[in-house]
């Protein structure tokens, strides 16, 4: 900094600490709520230090579920995990292949193909929700993982990211591998793929979070309780008639729903930031 002002430093700390506290408080309350029984929460004076019901709440939520729906949260988490991983891997696979084709080959309609993919960048699934629903229904993919995953990987973010990265790779590498007699497949496997590891990982982190947090799409196409994802499951635990809402189970589920993506952000922060910044370019 330009000048050294202890007061400004102090104000910076104060602002940041207040910011962190406000950011953390709602989650802190949810964690606290997951350690009490219904009665303690309902009467409106929930203590701010943990109670002793945590073991009971977590084991009940995970293996039994709320008393309204009775769907074990462990099963919902498995569904969310399959969807998130499917979206992440599916998108990486199709987009690295198409970016490879667009950047390294010359073929008829190459520009057209690129634009056809590029335009999908603009329209989120929300604006074409019912027609997409109808197509998935016609294909018989309701209540399947394929139906959950496919429509959400139809977007250009990954392709653009890989294209951008491939453009920075020096042409000499391709020329060298050609001289060494390597074909397209060898070049892809031995040169391109190893160089792309960080980009792949960054895209994976972003897409995993995106997939795990999906809401509208799974809400529409899953009808069977065995296909429920955790984000949808929580909503069903909270009813408008307050008397029926088991807040301790709902909050336990909320905590469980936050754990995987938040851990990913915290422990893969560098990749997360890279992915976020580069997919938005």
């Amino acid at each position: 900094m330009v000048e050294n002002r202890p007061f400004a430093q102090f104000m910076a700390y104060l602002t940041l600490v207040i910011g962190v506290l406000i950011v953390a408080f709602p989650v802190y309350l949810a964690i606290m709520a997951s350690t009490f029984d219904t009665a303690t929460i309902i009467n409106g004076n929930m203590p701010l230090i943990p109670g002793d019901q945590a073991g009971e709440n977590y084991s009940r939520a995970l293996f039994y579920g709320g008393k309204l729906a009775r769907e074990p949260v462990a099963m919902m988490m498995a569904n969310s995990m399959i969807m998130a991983l499917g979206i992440a891997f599916g998108k990486i696979l199709i987009s690295i292949l198409s970016a490879f084709a667009v950047v390294y080959f010359q073929f008829p309609f190459r520009k057209t193909a690129f634009w056809v993919i590029f335009i999908t960048l603009m329209l989120p699934v929300e604006v074409r929700i019912y027609p997409t629903y109808k197509i998935v229904a016609d294909l018989g993919l309701l209540d399947t993982y394929t139906g959950l995953i496919m429509p959400l990987i139809a977007s250009a973010t990954g392709t653009l990211l890989f294209r951008q990265f491939f453009m920075t790779i020096p042409d000499e590498l391709l020329e060298a591998s050609k001289i060494d007699g390597a074909g397209a497949f060898r070049f892809f496997k031995d040169t391109l793929l190893p160089l792309s590891v960080t980009t792949i990982a960054a895209l994976f982190v972003i897409q995993f979070i995106y997939g795990w947090n999906q809401y509208l799409w799974p809400l529409l196409i899953t009808t069977q309780s065995s296909m429920q994802t955790i984000v949808i499951g929580i909503k069903k635990m909270i009813t408008t008639t307050d008397a029926l809402t088991e807040w301790q189970i709902a909050m336990t589920t909320a905590v469980l729903a936050m754990v995987p993506p938040v851990l990913v952000v915290i422990f893969m922060q560098r990749l997360f930031v890279k992915g976020l910044v580069e997919t938005e370019k």
């Binding site: 000048e3 430093q9 910076a12 602002t15 940041l16 910011g19 406000i22 950011v23 953390a24 408080f25 709602p26 309350l29 709520a33 409106g44 929930m46 696979l93 987009s95 084709a101 667009v102 950047v103 390294y104 080959f105 008829p108 056809v116 993919i117 999908t120 603009m122 329209l123 989120p124 929300e126 604006v127 074409r128 929700i129 019912y130 027609p131 997409t132 109808k134 197509i135 496919m150 429509p151 977007s155 392709t159 453009m167 391709l174 397209a184 979070i209 947090n213 999906q214 809401y215 809400l219 929580i234 909270i238 408008t240 729903a257 936050m258 952000v265 922060q269 930031v273 976020l276 910044v277």
Partner: protein
């Protein structure tokens, strides 16, 4: 930009691009064109027959007072979330950019809400501000302010704005911090030598240099409020009370599913597509020009 060196052959590249093309056509172009086509049709009550009605669905839409109300709600919701999430993020980013100990830890502690699903964010805030059992909602009522987001449209909107802002500050913070770190220190030092204090430096040097980031974030935030907050709205208010928190996207969903008016819902989808394309186009134009450099 083009590569000089290429791999020859064109059956292989077509095979490589095929999976993405197939998925894009089946799950993107086909439904998008269906939405446009459907917006010109009217289906009978059983969905058995449909007739071409031209722009009737659009005309009917613009005669609905509810549609204007949804527009108004969307405008208020997005401007409030945009203002607060940008302002708070900028404040935090300028503080974190000061050369302080533990700056990196603060960054980690501020960005994780990005990973929380919008619907979960909504549930957390609803629990906190629940009128009878919430840690913050109950005291409001005890103190005599009649707080009830389940019954009062204004309270419901406040709750939505709070949860949507809470979730999005992390994103804006990250980009502002990156933007601030990209500003050369020499420019700021030059300002200081000329006698400008911290406030003056911020408003005359830093803020203008940051304007491309701000503009980019403004567009991203508006798109976020339009689409991703669907989960928050559905989990917290369900568009209520009495439709007072129904945004444009929520109305597409509610009219098509609960109301069964697929033509009207499709017409709304088409209008939304036009809005998003316009926003994206504006963004590309301005980002190219690099606002204020």
């Amino acid at each position: 930009m083009e590569k000089r060196a290429h791999i020859s052959g064109w059956t292989l590249p077509l095979l490589l691009i095929l999976p993405q093309m197939a998925i894009t056509v089946i799950f993107f172009y086909w439904p998008a064109s269906q939405a446009i086509w459907q917006s010109f049709l009217r289906e009978d009550a059983f969905g058995l027959a449909s007739e071409f009605v031209g722009f009737e669905n659009y005309v009917a839409l613009f005669e609905q007072p509810e549609y204007y109300r949804a527009m108004g709600t969307t405008a208020i919701f997005s401007s409030l979330v945009a203002f607060f999430s940008l302002a708070v993020a900028l404040l935090l980013a300028t503080q974190a950019d000061k050369n302080i100990r533990g700056g990196h830890a603060f960054k980690t502690l501020l960005i994780w809400p990005y990973a929380v699903a919008p619907a979960i964010a909504g549930v957390l805030w609803m629990f906190m501000f629940h009128p009878t059992l919430g840690t913050l909602g109950r005291p409001l009522n005890v103190m005599g302010y009649n707080w009830n987001p389940m019954l009062d449209g204004k309270d419901a909107m406040i709750l939505l704005v709070l949860s949507a802002t809470w979730k999005h500050v992390s994103y804006n913070f990250l980009f502002f911090l990156a933007g601030l770190q990209a500003i050369p220190k020499s420019v700021i030092e030059a300002g200081a030598i000329d006698g400008a204090g911290p406030f003056r430096r911020f408003w005359t040097i830093i803020f203008p240099l940051l304007s491309p980031t701000t503009f980019f974030l403004l567009v991203v935030t508006i798109v976020y409020v339009f689409f991703e907050t669907f989960g928050i709205i559905d989990a917290v208010t369900g568009g209520g009370p009495a439709g007072q928190t129904t945004t444009l996207v929520y109305k597409v969903y509610a009219d098509g599913r609960l109301g069964g008016d697929l033509g009207g819902s499709a017409a709304q989808s088409v209008i939304l597509m036009v809005i998003v394309i316009a926003l994206t186009a504006i963004q590309f134009r301005y980002v190219e020009r690099k606002v204020q450099y």
